[in-house]
Amino acid sequence: MRPRWFVEPFEEESRFIPPPRISGKCTGCGTCEAICSFTHFEVASNALSAIHVVNNDMDWIQGRSSKIIEIDVCRQCPGLSPCMAVCPKLAEGALFRDKKTSAVLVDADECIRCGACIRACPYDSMSHSPRLDAMIKCDLCGGEPKCVEWCPPKVLRYVKE
């Protein structure tokens, strides 16, 4: 099987890593969301981003959650991924694997926008923009993910499995 590449959120055990500019933990700034949508659609908008920063700080403050921030991003699941498994147009190639990175991509012409993949995704990382009629999904930027490059605290990494 070909290697699987994906973007993975990770946080260091230590609280802060020197030099002081790097915090070692996600700060919730949303640079990844902005650069993702900007690269693909030329506008910054977290509704058009394939990566999402979910802020739970009010829950954390009140002791209802142990996590302040969660990052939702596609892991490009191996084999028949949950999104591909439910796709009614899989045979026509509505969802297919990229030859170079093995990322799951959407063919906008074949996709019928039924939304089955959005509901099936275990990482909440697929969505549909009614405004642009576009399916929004991480395509690994063709092998050079911009979110990894731009993340200020460097808590995203591009890994191979």
């Binding site: 500019r21 949508s37 900007f38 030329e42 009010m58 200020p152």
Partner: protein, 653 residues
Amino acid sequence: MKEWCGWAGTVLRVDLESGEIKKQPLTRDKALTYLGSRGFNQKTLWDEIRPGIDPLGPENVLSIGVGPLNGTIFPCSGRYSMSYKSPWTGILGDGNAGGKFAAGLKQAGYDQIIFTKKAKKPVYLWIEDENVELKDAGHLWGETTWHTNEAIIKDDKASSVCCIGPAGENLVRTSCVITDAFDAHGMCGPGAVFGSKNLKAIGVKGTIGVNVADPDRFMELSRKVIDKKVHGPPLAGEGSYRIYNVGALRGTPHLVDVNKADNWDWVRYASTAKFRAHDNFVSDRLLENTVRLRGCCVCPTHCKRWYEVQEGPYAGLRGGGIEFNIVKYNAVVNDLNDWGEACHLNNLYNQLGISINHGTTIAYAIYLYEKGLLTKEQTDGLELKWGDAELITELVKKTAYRDGRLGNLLAEGHYNIGRILGPEALWHCIHVLGLASYPDFRGKNNLMIQRCTSTRGCDHLRGEVGGGHIGYWAHVLDDPEMGRGGYSTHGKHVATVSSQNVQVLFDCYSVCKNGLYPLYGEEAAEILTALTGVVFTAQMLWEIGERVYTLEQSFNVREGVKRKHMVPPPRYFAEPQADGLSKGNVCRIEDYDEMMDDYLELRGWDIETAVPKNAKLVELGLAMVKEEFEAGVPYPDWVGPPLAQAMPRERSD
């Protein structure tokens, strides 16, 4: 070519009385003349607020603006401005806050929101792209900012919320508007303006995004700014900004470390320089309580934090934010003990929606109580003393709910307490045009001229020339003598004007001064050109800075501000600093006169009155100001906001 790049192209006008919401096109002329955010707001205020109105009446206009860089991938672009006539000072009220509201509003397709008149019942404004509506806020009235924030995010799936707490509803003059639970428009009292309009909150969700004229170039320039200004080494001549390299981890509280235990300003309301708890407040002690750093929208600097207090009576307390303000305006002036108390107060201020600067108001009351100018009868029998966090907590709560005589007094704000208690008490009040800002500028002439010429009253974010900033301008303008501190008066007016113009630009773009300062000239022009498709030059930007600042001064002139009001407090002239390295330092009237003359001359404002001269107004394209000054009757002298209306209100329990 896309119709609007950089700007969204729409101004939202909300008539709260009738509930009518209008979308008006932004004009090219306004965009190029005022650039955005603070610039748009000042234009609106000048056009729509008549002089002498009550800031808490329905005639006040509240304008919220975002600039061309907001809502894009540009680093540190999470700031937005809010302007109105201030109920705290009675002059221009203006503030700037971070969080994700700026991006949300801009990406929903709006450059400015203008609120007029007063709603009949509590409402909040909900903006989701093209859909804008006023919703009933009856169920949120009386709730804390955190509860309101959570409720609107849960009910409407908002991406960002700004709201007021009980303090704003009760027209506390020091109340603020809280964005995303921890970011505040602190100074000048916007919370009370929200409250007076029965406006509880604004929730936004923007999905449209902002067009960019040259995306590749803009991305390249944004990346360059991050690499050079944020992650790069200090630039030549910007060595003074090395300070910001530690700013990311420690945030503004790193400024505690540059002080010494026996050389602070303002301890016990400027009675001594010895801060006994200095060692408890060094930034290392804050890091012990820090759980995670927090960034505003698209911010690589992330100077804020989420904290959990580790020890002491407040162990286990969780919250977010924390700036140097909590130290200077609360811990130092009131002589508190440790970060636990500071974090507790920070949460309290955030939840109730009171400005951090309110700590100065409390310190002023304690100081007057010690001097015998505030009696036990006036404090409802309460013994006021220094260094008691429990007492401060009680006073903050009393203020927010205007509870009793003392609560009502404190709710009027620092300077107004002096007005109520009489001339002797007012003599002791440390303020310029009604506001107080750290540090003590006795014997620091560079700070004196800048604080006295700030357009929203004494303030450090309207053109900072303290510490390394003056060194930076001395380097850039190639005048080493200008960089000297202390009693030196040489070139301070030039540094002040330069810094004020650049900081106007920051608020107009609108980006964060902490993250990127200084960004102006060709560098900024290139970025704006790539973003908007309009060719900007360094000269155009400089003129915008000067234009907006002069317009702000004109607004204040209309409210009665003259040169005689733009002075340090009398206490600074008469009472030298008591101890510490600055012992014996005092403000000198001859230095003040010399620098003020030079400053007004350079600004093109009248030397006697500080009114902008006709020639300057014409040069800056502010003909409407000139016409009004020529036609207008003399404006009555500034004394502060009218106080009667906000005096004791019945509590309905």
